[in-house]
């Protein structure tokens, strides 16, 4: 048998053999891939309110922590740093103070932090630890919510429980004992056009 004959034989044989094989999930709507994709999309949509509050948490942390913890002792950057914020990714730690059992922070609306001018800001809040956040006393989110949503620390590489500030939100962020998070700015405040 020549190489050409062999190749022809292999090609014909493989085509005939494999063409008879039919997979069990030819319909997209009935496939497990479709269900998994739908779940991914659903989780992505659920992240939006978390994003809004996470950004609010950042603002709260920067605005309030200085007042509560004493500006000289905290590692909170000045609000101006967020307002300009092009280099915000260089601000890895916003709050780290393990001595406080709980820190309650409210947005105070400092003129230098013009929330309404920000259309988007990306911040990472940890899944681990124990913290909660509420906006105008309405809905509370917490690290437990994130975990319940399926976020894990392993997700951090490609999914942040983060982003999107809606102007005018006045959130309250509470860090519980042992749960002082490290909030990391991933992307700067973007100002609307």
């Amino acid at each position: 048998m020549t190489d050409h004959d062999l190749e022809r034989k292999v090609r014909d044989g493989f085509r005939e053999a494999l063409d008879q094989e039919l997979g069990p999930d030819p319909i997209w709507a009935e496939s497990s891939a479709a269900r998994r994709v739908a779940e991914m999309e659903r989780r992505a949509r659920r992240r939006w309110p978390l994003r809004a509050l996470a950004v609010a948490a950042l603002i709260g942390a920067t605005g309030g922590a200085a007042a509560l913890l004493g500006g000289g002792q905290s590692e909170v950057p000045p609000p101006e740093a967020l307002a300009s914020a092009q280099e915000a990714s260089e601000l890895p730690v916003l709050i780290r103070n393990e001595r406080h059992e709980a820190v309650r922070i409210e947005i105070t609306g400092r003129p230098s932090v013009r929330l309404d001018d920000c259309t988007e800001m990306v911040v990472e809040l940890p899944v681990t630890g124990d913290w909660s956040i509420s906006a105008d006393g309405l809905v509370a989110y917490s690290s437990a919510d994130l975990r319940a949503s399926g976020f894990t620390d392993a997700d951090r590489d490609n999914r942040y429980p983060v982003v999107m500030l809606q102007g005018g939100v006045k959130p309250v962020l509470v860090f519980h004992e042992g749960g002082i998070p490290e909030a990391k700015v991933i992307e700067a405040c973007r100002q609307g056009t």
Binding site: D3, L6, F14, E16, D19, Q20, E21, G23, A33, R36
Partner: protein, 175 residues
């Protein structure tokens, strides 16, 4: 960019390409149940990275690269597990509707390494050229040529021995 539209409707893309993807996985993995799972994993992976598909190559080739990677990864995870059952065991020896039997094809595939099976399926089932196969397998065209040459040598032995069997048993032989 021309091929980006092919995946715009992902559900339609799935249904249009599913058979080819499943057969690619099956040819490499040789276990129908695992091949079906790997195919699903591949589509989920493809969906996640669909924004990165630049559309410079046909979407099927892009998908097959993902399927091949998923299949090889699945085999690495479950190693070692020699294939002794599955499709081949279910097929009668005298299934001779073509040039060579399905059983012969699968037994011949079993003689190859996973990467060789991938190269053979991509070359002789999908008709990809060496450059495309090299891209999919993340190697060079020269290596693909060498891989296919070694694979053909092994397949020749397997096919020759099958012909001897069919001759002994009086089964039809097209040579």
């Amino acid at each position: 960019m021309a091929f980006r539209l092919e995946i715009a409707d992902f559900g339609a893309f799935y249904e249009r390409t599913y058979d080819g993807a499943y057969r690619t996985a099956l040819g490499i993995i040789r276990d129908p149940a695992l091949a079906a799972d790997v195919t699903q994993d591949a589509y989920v992976a493809a969906y996640k990275v669909r924004d990165r598909f630049r559309g410079e190559a046909p979407s099927a080739a892009w998908l097959h690269r993902i399927v091949v990677n998923q299949a090889l990864a699945a085999l690495r995870r479950r190693r070692p597990k020699p294939h002794t059952s599955g499709i081949a065991a279910l097929m009668p020896r005298d299934d001779t509707s073509g040039t060579i039997t399905r059983l012969t094809v699968y037994e011949a595939l079993d003689q190859l390494s996973a990467r060789q099976r991938a190269a053979v399926v991509l070359r002789y089932y999908h008709d990809y050229d060496y450059a495309r196969i090299a891209q999919i397998l993340n190697t060079t065209s020269t290596n693909v040529g060498a891989m296919l040459s070694r694979a053909l040598d092994r397949l020749k032995v397997a096919l020759d021995s099958d012909q001897a069997v069919t001759a002994d048993t009086g089964a039809p032989n097209d040579d």
